[in-house]
């Protein structure tokens, strides 16, 4: 009898642990949303906005990856006004930070501190305001997935189709650069059995920073020039099913299928076509398409610090 009571209590305890979730299912987290990549926020803790001359102070910031791509080989450079502040430690630092994923939907966050020492104030001066700037440069990748309607019936001879080919507008993909719209077009090729499938892919810089060539991460955060036509550019790759599309325009002097974006006015588009075309026998179907935009991204966050004379 006593054993039965103990078993009963244990059963009740176990049952109590079960939540009644009738009518609900496990929520799927979409990490490919939002227009943020790496963010840097100065924290008030540990960093007084006003400090005194000839004293040690610190500026603390949170580096977060709020996008959907892991960053490896990111660089940040810390700029201080040497006349008022002495920075202790490296001015140029590398970082690696994971992005959002299904297993880690918040993305990685790192708290970092810059140790500073305030210098003496100039004569007859009571306070000065100085600026601490952190330049962040990192490689990033935007990945957009969609299911366009692939239609080889270019003359509209089939009355009933499983889908209709039309332009697709997209929101954001968990990156500062967003694929915003894809416009498919299907036209007859010279071979009567083949259809030319082309997609105009629109891309927009939706973050607050600037794009640059992905292989110049260190240069972007240091003083040197990046080279002609290195700003506002990105490489784009598009796939229909498993086959990579041929995108134009291309970067000058480069062959291959990758396209070259120049987002001078924050947006640009490329035209991507399926090499060889589609056979008409494929009919009309819903395909899977993947677009990748690869770029370097940079932004700067500043913080003002007031230095007061210690009377």
């Amino acid at each position: 009898m006593r054993l039965a009571i103990i078993l009963g209590i244990c059963t009740l305890v176990l049952l109590a642990g079960c939540a009644f979730r009738t009518g609900t299912s496990i929520q799927e987290v979409n990490v490919h949303t939002g227009t943020k990549g790496i963010t840097l926020t100065f924290l008030d803790q540990g960093a007084t906005r006003a400090t005194y001359a000839d004293s040690a102070t610190a500026v603390t910031y949170e580096l977060a990856n709020e996008g959907a791509h892991d960053v490896e080989g990111g660089v940040l450079s810390i700029g201080v006004e040497d006349d008022f502040l002495q920075l202790e430690g490296d001015r140029v630092r590398q970082f690696t930070i994971d992005g959002k994923s299904l297993g880690f939907p918040e993305g990685d966050r790192q708290i970092q501190t810059v140790q500073l020492r305030t210098k003496s104030l100039p004569p007859q001066t009571e306070t000065v305001t100085t600026t601490v700037a952190v330049n962040v440069c990192y490689p990033y990748l935007t990945e957009a997935s969609l299911t366009p309607c692939v239609d080889t019936d270019v003359f509209g001879r089939v009355a009933t189709k499983p889908c209709r080919a039309s332009a697709i507008s997209l929101g954001s993909q968990g990156a500062p650069v967003a694929v915003t719209r894809i416009e498919p077009s299907y036209t007859q090729m010279s071979d009567p059995n083949l259809v030319r499938a082309e997609f105009i892919i629109h891309v927009r810089n939706a973050g607050g920073g600037q794009l640059f060539e992905v292989d110049k991460i260190f240069e972007a955060c240091t003083p040197q020039a990046l080279g002609r036509d290195s700003w506002n550019v990105a490489t784009i790759r598009a796939y229909l099913g498993d086959q990579q599309l041929d995108c134009t325009p291309k970067k000058a002097g480069l062959a291959g299928l990758d396209g070259h974006l120049v987002l001078a006015k924050t947006e640009d588009f490329v035209r991507c076509g399926l090499p060889g075309g589609l056979h008409k026998s494929l009919g009309t179907f819903t395909g899977t398409m993947r677009v990748e935009v690869e770029y370097g991204y940079t932004f700067t966050t500043t913080r003002q610090l007031q230095i007061r004379r210690l009377v």
């Binding site: 006349d83 210098k119 100039p122 004569p123 007859q124 330049n135 997209l170 003083p223 020039a225 002609r228």
Partner: protein, 622 residues
């Protein structure tokens, strides 16, 4: 149907219309835009007053008809229109930052489009109050206005008016973003509006002579540094030639670092050889803040004229410190960014786009000017040259007597090769040479130079300018550019000088006999009333004293004895009956006088036994 009105009835509205066009045009041309327009010092305050005056005139002179209450009733609407007209260009400046980035033409166009609220209101809603010619002018104005709109719509840059997409939004231009941007801009500009209105006139100084460098006094400074000399006070209400002549004043001195060395001197040009007794004597050092009393006294009989000009000079050593922030970038990178239409300031989070010199407060302002930032460093050339302009301006009413030294700190990498403008010698120095005040100077980030200028004394509101030639060689570029995409560097200057303040007062000295034959020792009192016989320019006063003594009449123009320009009439005769001839009077003028007997019994009052009563008379008309 509206009755035709006579032109006379149109006058107030017409005047308002043309005044509005004038102010709007002035606003558009002179501009209150900080980035594109031509900033005029005090412009914010001027336009604030102008638009307020426009509203008041509209309410009381044009729209408010009949009673005063009705006029006041019209005032809020008029003020609202003026407020809109005043604020719109300020908001347009930031909201339309992308619109106007094309340059001055678009800036003016944006202003013309956005803010002539008064003109629009009068033309569209109150046209009945305007005269026929004014209505025609308005039609022409609207025609030009439409042309501007057409011009705008033909410019792709203007069409691409989108709010920047912030973090966390989708890749669409959402109205929410635009609204959010507008709210943020509104808050920022309201703060800026009040900040500018309060500080602009006091803090911005444009140098009228020499280089037009702009400088701003340290806005964080609370202490009034330097020396202030109050006006001179006299030790007596009036002096006779028998009196010692004394003045006194107060000197307030304040410093934060170096002690101020103050030398006080008292003199009179009317008695060049005189040796007044004064304090403090010699050089006096002031640390922090101190108030010093200054006294100066000339012995009796020093002055032989009717007027004595007494002057107190306070010479003090002072230091003014100034710094100018600027930004450097690799020139190739700068060109790359501009070709890519990336604003380097925006990209690197720099809000202070056009830094001006900040100088410590005091009698002399110190301003510097260098190339417009960001300054591109061309790493492909062997040597980079530039010119730093340094101006010292005498802001107070004293004299900048002597500039003993000018310490110049240029960013590490730059060297001074030549100084022109005024004769000066310079030499490289080390921060340790500035001891004990060298801790603000750092040899590792700046090159220190000591400049000895040979300048004449600088009068009030005048300035002198040095042109400092700088050079940097290829090996120095790294030091200038630093390790970040844009480097912030400072030019600093500290001027050591002697400044002279002076205060002068002209004191009337009444002539009295140096000696009297008989000295009365009793208190003298007038007997009865004096007999007054006024003429046009003179009067005779006869009276009797109870004791034989000399007498004196003090005469003031007006009905009281509080005048400063009084006249004294002295009768040295030791008698009881006196007759004074009061001369040099104005016709048909009221005068008041008092009588005093001279007696040693009244020694506490300079031997004057003043009577309780005063008398007055009016001179005759000519």
């Amino acid at each position: 149907m509206a009755q035709p009105q006579s032109p006379a009835q149109f006058a107030p509205a017409n005047l308002l219309f043309y005044l509005a066009i004038f102010i709007h045009t002035l606003d558009a041309i002179a501009g209150r835009l900080t980035t594109q327009g031509v900033t005029i010092p005090g412009g914010t305050a001027f336009f604030l007053v102008a638009y307020a005056a426009l509203a008041v005139y509209a309410a009381f002179g044009v729209f408010g008809t009949g009673t005063t209450a009705e006029k006041f009733k019209a005032l809020p609407i008029c003020l609202a229109i003026s407020a809109g007209a005043y604020l719109l260009p300020i908001f347009a400046n930031s909201i339309g930052a992308n619109w106007v980035s094309g340059g001055g033409v678009l800036t003016s166009a944006t202003l013309v489009l956005l803010f002539p609220l008064w003109v629009i209101y009068l033309g569209f809603f109150e046209s009945a109050k305007l005269g026929p010619k004014t209505r025609w002018v308005f039609g022409a104005y609207i025609f030009i206005w439409v042309l501007w709109v057409l011009f705008f719509t033909a410019i792709p840059k203007f069409q691409a008016v989108t709010a920047p997409i912030g973090e966390g939004t989708t890749a669409q231009v959402s109205p929410g973003d635009v609204f959010q941007n507008l709210v943020a801009v509104t808050v920022t500009n309201t703060q800026r509006l009040f900040g500018v209105a309060r500080n602009e006139t006091q803090e911005q100084i444009n140098f009228a002579t020499g280089d037009a460098f702009t400088a701003r006094v340290d806005r964080n400074a609370k202490a009034q540094l330097g020396v202030q000399l109050d006006s001179l006070q006299v030790t007596q209400p009036y002096f006779t030639s028998n009196d010692p002549v004394g003045v006194f004043t107060k000197l307030t001195a304040q410093t934060l670092d170096d002690p101020l060395k103050i030398t006080v001197k008292c003199s009179s040009k009317d008695a060049p050889g005189a040796a007044p007794s004064y304090s403090p004597l010699g050089e006096r050092e002031v640390f922090a803040q101190e108030v010093i009393d200054i006294d100066c006294s000339f012995p009796a009989g020093t002055f032989t004229k009717d007027l004595a000009a007494i002057k107190i000079d306070a010479d003090f050593t002072m230091q003014t410190f100034a710094y100018l922030k600027t930004y450097f970038m690799d020139r190739t990178r700068l060109i790359e960014l501009r070709n890519a239409q990336i604003d380097p300031f925006q990209q690197y989070g720099i809000t202070d786009r056009n830094p001006v010199t900040t100088y410590t407060n005091g009698p002399v302002s110190l301003a510097m000017g260098f190339s417009a930032p960001p300054v591109g460093i061309d790493t492909n050339v062997d040597e980079l040259t530039g010119t730093l302009g340094v101006s010292l301006r005498n802001d107070w009413q004293g004299q900048l007597k002597h500039i003993s030294k000018l310490h110049l700190l240029v960013p590490k990498g730059f060297t001074i090769t030549e100084i022109t403008g005024i004769p000066a010698t310079f030499s490289k120095a080390n921060c340790v040479d500035l001891a004990p005040l060298s801790d603000w100077c750092d040899d590792s980030i700046a090159n220190l130079y000591t400049v000895i200028p040979t300048a004449n004394p600088v009068a009030a509101q005048q300035s002198i300018t040095l042109r400092v030639r700088l050079a940097a060689s290829r090996s120095d570029y790294e030091a200038i550019l630093g390790t970040t995409p844009i480097s912030t560097r400072y030019f600093k200057a500290a001027a050591d000088y002697t400044y002279a303040l002076s205060a002068e007062r002209v004191i009337p000295i009444q002539r009295t006999p140096t000696t009297t034959t008989t000295t009365t020792t009793q208190v003298t009192v007038i007997q009865g009333e004096p007999t007054i016989t006024p003429g046009a320019t003179a009067a005779t006063v006869t009276f009797t004293m109870d004791v034989a003594s000399p007498t004196e009449i003090k005469l003031c123009q007006g009905s009281t004895m509080t005048c400063k320009d009084f006249k004294l009439y002295y009768d040295p005769n030791v008698t009881t009956t006196h007759t004074h001839n009061l001369t040099q009077l104005q016709p048909n003028t009221l005068y008041t006088f008092e009588i005093a007997g001279i007696s040693t019994a009244c020694s506490s009052n300079n031997n004057r036994c003043k009577q309780d009563k005063t008398y007055n008379f009016i001179t005759q008309a000519e």
